[in-house]
């Protein structure tokens, strides 16, 4: 009896679940692969990663590629907007007022540029013959905190765009030699400028927002290209806009590859007796350090996994290497203290004379 009851209730539950998923619309969180409490940064990062993977041009043999890509665009459009996300969380996809505005193309372009579907960042060799506008390479300063946790930089790109205009214009102008006859047997060679006729183009300023991702573990001089967002060329294609990462110096941590180096000055007592301390890391979490032995000046301590995430695999982290130096007391000791210390440390008088420079 109990078994039958259970079967029935589980079937009912299954039916309810199916109905709710059908009625409720798509699960945008699942499509993006993020949790319900994901931050806007997590959502942008997930979109950017999946957009590269799911783009139909990259999945030409998948019949569902267009649908999956459209789902991704819809998911991002809703979850990246505070208002729409609130509505979606409460009422599901059907509860969203008004249909989806803005093509997925716009969203994709803000992450990758106008011609973002040309993958690999390199133009196809066939396009070498088409003249290109200038590229713009812009340094983007990033902090070590951003390298550790990742971030997005929004940028408004205002650029001239070629638009058709009425009439014709002269293009492909070149110098040609013309021969004119001055008289019988007398000719003159002159240089003339000869142009073709092309459709008229005018330049109109347009604006769009671009999202530049600072990926975790990004290294100095790495570039993030936005295809087609450079300068226009009146007879050809626009150039690219490339952001070149420049990692700023940090007051506490020094980066070497994926490892982080830092220095700590401790007191003489702590060096001899031991101590416990916390170091605030780049994302605010605390790294605990406990010493119960004597710490020599110059001593190094390695904390595995507390370095930077590796750019190619964010799950691998470097180490944090802490170098200690010791602060000696600034005030001179009086005779009583001197006696006391000699008693405590029980060291015989010892002076070793040696060549410390050895050629350096």
């Amino acid at each position: 009896m109990a078994v039958k009851g259970m079967k029935l209730s589980s079937v009912c539950l299954l039916l309810l679940y199916l109905i709710s998923t059908v009625l409720g619309g798509r699960d945008f969180y699942k499509i993006l692969g993020v949790s319900k409490s994901a931050s806007i940064k997590d959502i942008k990062k997930a979109y950017r990663k999946l957009a590269l993977q799911l783009h139909p041009d990259r999945n030409q043999d998948d019949p569902h590629a267009q649908d999956k890509f459209a789902d991704l665009g819809a998911a991002y459009e809703v979850l990246s907007d505070q208002e729409k996300r609130k509505q979606y969380d409460t009422y599901g996809e059907d509860g969203l007022k008004e249909g989806h505005h803005g093509s997925h193309g716009d969203i994709f372009s803000s992450f990758f540029g106008d011609f973002g579907f040309m993958f690999g960042g390199n133009r196809q060799t066939a396009n070498r013959d088409i003249p290109r506008g200038n590229d713009i390479i812009l340094d983007l300063e990033v902090t070590l905190e951003e390298v550790y946790s990742g971030n997005f930089v929004e940028v408004v790109r205002n650029k001239p765009v070629s638009k058709e205009a009425p009439g014709k214009r002269k293009c492909n102008c070149r110098q040609e030699m013309r021969t004119t006859q001055l008289g019988p047997g007398r000719f003159q060679m002159t240089q003339e400028v000869v142009c073709d006729e092309c459709p008229n183009i005018k330049l109109v300023n347009e604006e769009r927002t671009l999202e530049v991702e600072i990926e975790q573990g990004v290294r100095d001089d790495m570039e993030y290209p936005f295809i087609g967002e450079g300068e226009p060329h009146i007879d050809g294609e626009p150039g690219d806009l490339r952001f070149r990462i420049k990692v700023l110096k940090h007051p506490v941590f020094e980066r070497r590859g994926d490892d982080l180096y830092t220095n700590v000055t401790i007191s003489l007592v702590e060096a001899l007796v031991g101590f416990q301390m916390e170091i605030s890391h780049l994302d605010g979490h605390k790294v605990n350090i406990v010493r119960d032995k004597i710490t020599k000046p110059g001593a190094r301590l390695q904390k595995k996994g507390e370095g930077l995430p590796n750019f190619d695999n964010n799950n691998i982290r470097g180490s944090l290497i802490v170098t200690f130096d010791v602060d000696f007391p600034k005030e001179q000791l009086d005779d009583q203290q001197k006696d006391g210390i000699s008693q405590l440390l029980k060291q015989a008088s010892s002076q070793k004379v040696y060549n410390g420079l050895q050629g350096y």
Binding site: S149, V153, R157, N158, G230, D283
Partner: protein, 219 residues
């Protein structure tokens, strides 16, 4: 009597709340209309409709440094300048520039800073304006103050640039060069503020302020 005062106070507090709220809202929307530190811009002189420009061509007179001109074209990458903090200053990426703030204006392609000094300009005998330095490092004569009304430099504003070292204004009065930079206008410094020294940002890459990477969004 007391009731009347309370009533009035209530009205005032509601009004204040409204003003505060709308100011906050306005503040949010207007963020992307500021010129921010680190942004790349083209600057157009509003009187002569030419863009501030530089290139690897040196003055034939005066200091002999790299020349700065005004050009008609809107699609030349050599007209891009980077807005940067003054030497020894700090600027947060994406932080809006304040009116009267001292900045450096660095030419993107050549890495030289907009600069002026006591040399005469070649065509009009005003003060020469050149591009100076290497990799964005020059000297104290690279510093300019943005003059605008209001608190921040807004993208729609026509502003003046006052040279901090010699107190002249970045100007164009229309004199044109011949070969090899035919048609380009002379850019120079003038001591009097007038309608020749207004500039407006046009095309560019305007960096917005970022969130703290460790911020947790409140929903």
């Amino acid at each position: 009597m007391q009731a009347v005062i309370m009533g009035q106070l209530r009205v005032i507090s509601v009004l204040l709340d409204f003003i505060l709220l709308s100011a906050m809202c306005a503040g949010r929307d207007v963020d992307s209309s500021y010129v921010t530190c680190g942004s790349l811009v083209k600057l157009m002189n509003t009187r002569h409709s030419v863009r501030l420009h530089s290139h690897d061509v040196k003055y034939g007179s005066g200091s002999g440094q790299q020349s700065v001109t005004g050009v008609d074209s809107a699609d030349d990458a050599n007209s891009y300048w980077r807005i940067r903090e003054n030497p020894n200053g700090i600027c947060q990426r994406g932080e809006p520039i304040r009116c009267n703030q001292a900045i450096r204006i660095t030419h993107l392609k050549t890495g030289r800073n907009l600069h002026s000094h006591h040399f005469s300009s070649p065509l009009s005998n005003n003060q020469e304006v050149s591009a100076f330095g290497e990799n964005g490092q020059g000297d104290d004569l690279d510093v300019w103050a943005v003059q605008c009304s209001g608190i921040f430099w807004e993208r729609d504003d026509a502003v003046r640039f006052k040279h901090v070292g010699t107190e002249v204004f970045l100007s164009i009065t229309g004199e044109q060069y011949g070969h090899p930079i035919r048609g380009q206008r002379e850019v120079h410094g003038m001591s009097l503020p007038n309608h020749h020294n207004y500039w407006k940002v046009m095309e560019g890459v305007f960096i917005q302020p970022s969130n703290d990477p460790v911020q947790h969004d409140e929903l």
